[in-house]
């Protein structure tokens, strides 16, 4: 069969639709056409809220570092958390930029719009992946929270034992976290890892990455 024959069938089908396709105008009038606007604005508001929170945390950690710059235990702890917060800000700015472009609507060409949608999914999921690394870093949070909330230093005196037990627990968490992180960063994720992460967003991340590759291949001239 030739492509021209398919075109002829399509044209014939088109003529049939001319005669038979009807629009249910009553139903069309009842459609809640403005709902989508609210959804897009909702996502934008959420991201603005996220960035505001992260900026407050950044300022707060910066202030903490200035206050305790002579005490390395506080300085290092705050710095580690500050790196995570800064990475979070970069990620949300990237998301905001994509959302703003998408908010303009779907009336741009297909390849760039689809690329933006998939990039947004990939950025969100990658952010979640890096946030996983916060789990083994929680003793740093403990040191800062101890100082800020209770004005105690967990690195001193009898409290040191409590902190050490948390450091040991963090090390225990660190090993599986890194293992999962590396396993999932591979192109071919093993079946056990897929089962483990079912529903966590990894499938969407991989699907988004695959589709991005497909779009790039589609855009490429042979």
């Amino acid at each position: 069969m030739e492509l021209q024959e398919l075109k002829n069938i399509w044209a014939e089908y088109d003529r049939k639709l001319d005669k038979t396709l009807q629009v249910n105008m009553q139903l069309l009038r009842q459609l809640k056409l403005d709902k989508v606007q609210g959804k897009a604005n909702g996502l934008l508001t959420l991201k603005i809220f996220e960035i505001a929170m992260l900026l407050i945390m950044l300022g707060w950690l910066g202030d903490f570092m200035l206050k305790y710059y002579r005490q390395p235990q506080f300085m290092i702890s705050a710095f580690v958390l500050l790196v995570f917060v800064a990475l979070g800000i970069v990620s949300v700015i990237r998301q905001l930029s994509i959302i703003t472009q998408l908010k303009l609507g779907y009336d741009d060409a297909i390849a760039p719009v689809q690329k933006n949608i998939q990039s947004l999914k990939a950025v969100i999921i990658t952010t979640l992946k890096y946030a996983l690394l916060l789990i083994p870093c929680y003793p740093f949070l403990l040191i800062i929270a101890g100082k800020m909330i209770f004005n105690v230093d967990f690195t001193e005196g009898t409290r040191r034992a409590y902190l050490l037990s948390n450091v040991v627990a963090a090390f225990i968490f660190l090993i599986p976290t890194i293992w999962i992180f590396i396993a999932l960063s591979r192109e071919n994720i093993k079946p056990w890892a897929k089962t483990l992460l079912f529903g966590s967003g990894w499938y969407q991340a991989n699907a988004a990455a695959d589709f991005l590759k497909e779009i790039e291949a589609f855009e490429k001239e042979a």
Partner: protein
């Protein structure tokens, strides 16, 4: 223009371009229930962009872009029902009974079978090609060059020949 006049103009536009929306939705969504949602979603997205329509582009280019972008995104969301569409029991588009030959229906089914073998982006290309769009319009809608459009059409032709020579 008043909001009501705007809406009336939009509804007229949908009425005039019903075939375009129907064909795109039919190509990307085989399931009849999901297709109802996709039709709604396309119309909502068209309405969302209606106020920003840039008349430097053809109206059909604008409609194809929105309908195809929505359909591809819908397809990639695992055909899940969208939160911003409310479930409806009736179809916005209906096909009236007619006396068309069964032979045409069979050929159309065959045509859809062929299109469904293509990936989402090539499906869009195929719809645009079958709808007799120029290579320039296809390039504008898809966001690729005209040369690239020509190369891809030629590949689809080869694929088609190979497929039917096997049968």
């Amino acid at each position: 223009m008043t909001p009501q006049a705007d809406k009336d103009q939009f509804l007229y536009l949908i009425q005039q371009n019903k075939k375009l929306i129907f064909k795109v939705c039919n190509t990307y969504c085989a399931d009849a229930e999901d297709r109802k949602d996709l039709v709604q979603e396309v119309i909502i997205q068209l309405w969302h962009s209606f106020g920003n329509y840039n008349n430097q582009y053809k109206l059909s280019t604008w409609m194809y872009r929105i309908a195809l972008n929505t359909a591809i995104s819908f397809y990639r969301s695992d055909h899940k029902r969208k939160a911003n569409t409310s479930s409806i029991s009736e179809n916005i588009f209906d096909i009236a009974d007619d006396d068309t030959s069964i032979e045409l229906d069979e050929r159309v089914t065959l045509l859809y079978q062929f299109i469904n073998q293509l990936d989402e982006l090539n499906k869009a290309l195929m719809i645009l090609y079958l709808d007799n769009n120029s290579y320039k319009d296809m390039a504008d809608i898809l966001g690729i060059t005209e040369t690239n459009v020509a190369t891809k059409i030629s590949r689809i032709k080869q694929h088609l020949k190979q497929q039917f020579s096997k049968q």
